[in-house]
């Protein structure tokens, strides 16, 4: 798009281009650019108008009426809004929605990062594990709901309750109790959302130069390192001293277990 916009400007000093379209000749150069831009936008805008803007405007309009399609709508002003904001059930629903949104988003990010750190790397089996982990995100919501309904069966012979029973807990009512229902719904949301976040984190981690892992491995950094710092932090820190450590520690002389499960693999060709 930008090329199209700038084109006339570049050609200002050049000889006239051979036989431009008639409408192009008539329109000033700047307008030509806008016309083309809007032309490209037009299909999307038309769809948005029909399926989004019009229904939105109509919905707002309807909210001020008592809607009776065959009797004619009746203007009620702010009554509908007044009723909604004073309705206890509505307010508690809004509050629960906020708690759910915050919990689900936060939970998904934390769990997604944890998962990403676990399965980051280039080994082929990891590719398979990652695909398997990503499945909840692409599974149809109806399937997910049915599956979890079975898992959450509140009897003592329910799937999750059996597991709780092994460790002497439960049976939990899960969705059937005021105390646990919101958390149960949230857990499903996190379970479904975390793999998506995991993919984003993995994409970010993939951008980290693999030589840094190598260097970190050479430095002896690891999840169980003396300082107990997390892998990611060690990786970043060790990148500062990577050139030094590569020289001093040499290839393969330090434990390869850290930083990435595949750190050793990437390093091997250079060492051998």
């Amino acid at each position: 798009m930008t090329t199209t916009l700038r084109e006339p400007a570049v050609r200002r000093h050049e000889p006239r281009p051979p036989a431009p379209a008639a409408w192009r000749r008539r329109l000033p150069a700047r307008l030509q650019g806008y016309a083309i831009a809007w032309l490209f936008l037009l299909p999307a805008l038309l769809l948005f108008t029909v399926f989004k803007f019009v229904p939105m405007v109509r919905a707002v309009e309807m909210s001020f009426h008592e809607v009776r399609p065959y009797l004619g709508d009746r203007w009620v002003g702010m009554d509908n809004y007044r009723e909604v904001v004073t309705d206890e059930a509505f307010l508690s629903a809004i509050w629960h929605t906020i708690v759910l949104a915050v919990g689900q988003t936060g939970g998904s990010i934390v769990l997604g990062l944890a998962l990403a750190l676990l399965v980051e790397g280039t080994a082929r089996h990891l590719w398979f594990v990652r695909t398997a982990m990503f499945l909840p995100t692409v599974a149809a919501m109806a399937v997910v709901a049915e599956l979890w309904r079975i898992l959450y069966y509140p009897g003592s012979d329910g799937a999750l309750n059996s597991i709780l029973g092994w460790v002497g807990l439960g049976p939990s009512q899960f969705l059937n109790s005021e105390d646990t229902s919101l958390w149960s719904v949230m857990a499903v949301g996190i379970w479904r959302g975390a793999p998506y976040d995991m993919m984003i984190f993995i994409a970010g981690l993939a951008g980290v130069d693999r030589t840094l892992y190598e260097a970190a491995a050479a430095d002896g950094a690891g999840p169980g390192g003396a300082s107990g710092t997390s892998r990611s932090r060690r990786c970043v820190r060790s990148s500062r001293s990577s050139s030094r450590s590569r020289r001093s520690a040499g290839c393969g002389s330090s434990p390869r277990s850290s930083c990435s499960p595949t750190a050793g693999r990437t390093a091997r060709p250079r060492c051998s």
Binding site: L45, F53, V54, V57, R58, R68, P69, Y70, N176
Partner: protein, 444 residues
């Protein structure tokens, strides 16, 4: 800068255009009539079910009798929502066969036409009780009754014999049976995995209230006290509180209700009974075909629910109406279909013999002999319950808000064993009072 101006201009144009579209969507006048226009018929039945087939048979018989073409659409989940969407687009079907309890909402929104009761051919053959269920709060008739039904206890007879208890004739008997089903391993598999009651206790469509209504009335409790078309809330009365207390005890003390009840709709509650997780299920006759197939006819019995302490037996009566929807191009055809549906022929097709495809549970036409159409004598039990103890929901202008509010309160009470019944019901009583005033029928 010019760019922004252009964008602003475009947005302005689009907004104006959409406003224009909105303006065009105003109210229209009566649709042009055509006595041969095809009739769209919606029925609240699961798509692909035997009941859908019966509805299609009924429509086909109507078409061959009158020459008016029909299209039947069976819809089940979110039926009312879909109807609202159709109404918003002014694309309502011509006819809807749905619960009697929906009448008030449909009337209030003007989605149904008034019916001239005297002008309905064959209308004089219908039972007066059925016509009552087609009456709006203003005393006018807004539908043609099509089917009636009531509810009874389905009890696992094989389990009952195993635990050696009689058919319950009081609530104490009923609870004793439920407790025995829960604790005495009636299926003999050596595991404590059976329960007394299957309860559809979800708040969706007000199921909790729908289920509990019969028990509330049986114990002498009630939603309202009515006099002369005016209503006063009665849900916090001592009898109502006692009935709810009994209901909660099943969940919290006896623990005789199959787990998951408070989130169960009927579609999830049916399997609880038919797969042998619970042995007592208060439900309608339409489940007999299904349970005969999946559980076995010899394994359960159908008995009237006993009266509660201090009360007399009462069972929720409901049914289905044929609603003549607004905006139809073929109003004459609408009326003809309703007349066909209540005729002896229409009712018999709808009853579908002893199969599980019945869309007419109990015939509303008094000239139709139930016993000659259905050999299964259990239908007589339902017929007797309907005639002796059947009671329709209160005739307030719109019942739905009351059903929903009471379902939410009842659901909250049984879901939380620490709940205070009196306080919760007093709060519900207040909600009822406000809603009654809003609907203009509060007793002063």
């Amino acid at each position: 800068m010019a760019h922004t101006r252009g964008a602003a201009r475009l947005v302005a144009i689009l907004t104006a255009a959409s406003m224009g579209l909105v303006a065009c969507g105003g109210s229209d006048t009566g649709a042009e009539q055509d006595a041969k226009a095809p009739l769209q018929i919606w029925i609240r039945k699961p798509p692909g079910s035997p009941t859908e087939k019966t509805a299609k048979d009924l429509a086909a018989a109507f078409t061959s009798a009158t020459g008016v073409p029909t299209t039947v659409t069976a819809l089940f989940d979110d039926f009312e929502t879909k109807l609202q969407q159709a109404a918003a687009q002014k694309q309502l079907p011509d006819l809807v066969i749905n619960d009697t309890a929906q009448l008030g909402t449909l009337v209030k929104q003007g989605l149904v036409r008034e019916v001239d009761k005297a002008g309905v051919a064959g209308g004089d053959q219908l039972t007066p009780a059925a016509w009552e269920a087609a009456k709006g709060a203003d005393g006018k008739t807004y539908a043609v009754p099509f089917s009636a039904q009531s509810f009874a206890l389905f009890i696992r007879s094989d389990w009952r014999q195993k635990v050696g208890l009689p058919t319950p004739t009081s609530w104490a008997d009923l609870d004793a049976l439920a407790t025995a089903f829960t604790t005495k391993d009636p299926d003999g598999n050596g595991k404590a995995d059976t329960f007394g009651y299957a309860v559809p206790g979800s708040t969706k469509r007000g199921y909790t209230s729908w289920y509990f209504t019969s028990f509330l009335w049986s114990a002498g409790g009630d939603y309202f006290n009515e006099s002369g078309g005016k209503f006063a809330p009665a849900i916090a009365s001592p009898q109502s509180v006692a009935a709810v207390d009994w209901f909660k005890k099943q969940f919290c003390v006896d623990k005789s209700v199959a787990p998951g009840a408070v989130t169960m709709e009927t579609t999830q509650a049916h399997p609880v009974f038919e797969t042998g997780k619970a042995g007592i299920y208060f439900t309608g006759p339409y489940n007999m075909g299904r349970f005969d197939k999946n559980l076995g006819k010899d394994k359960y019995e159908v008995v009237p629910a006993p009266a509660g302490p201090g009360g007399k037996a009462a069972a929720l009566a409901e049914g289905e109406n044929v609603y003549l929807m607004a905006g139809s191009k073929n109003e004459a055809g609408q009326k003809k279909f309703a007349e066909f549906a209540i005729s002896g022929q229409g009712q018999t097709i709808g009853m579908a013999g002893d199969t599980d495809g019945s869309i007419v549970r109990l015939p509303v036409n008094s000239t139709v002999d139930l016993a000659s159409v259905r050999k299964d004598t259990r239908w007589q039990v339902f017929d007797k319950i309907y005639k002796d103890t059947g009671r329709y929901t209160p005739n307030v202008p719109e019942w739905t808000p009351f059903r929903q509010a009471s379902a939410e309160t009842l659901n909250a009470i049984v879901a939380n064993c620490a709940s205070d019944i009196q306080a919760e019901l007093t709060k519900l009583d207040e909600t009822f009072g406000e809603e009654l005033s809003k609907q203009g029928v509060a007793a002063s």
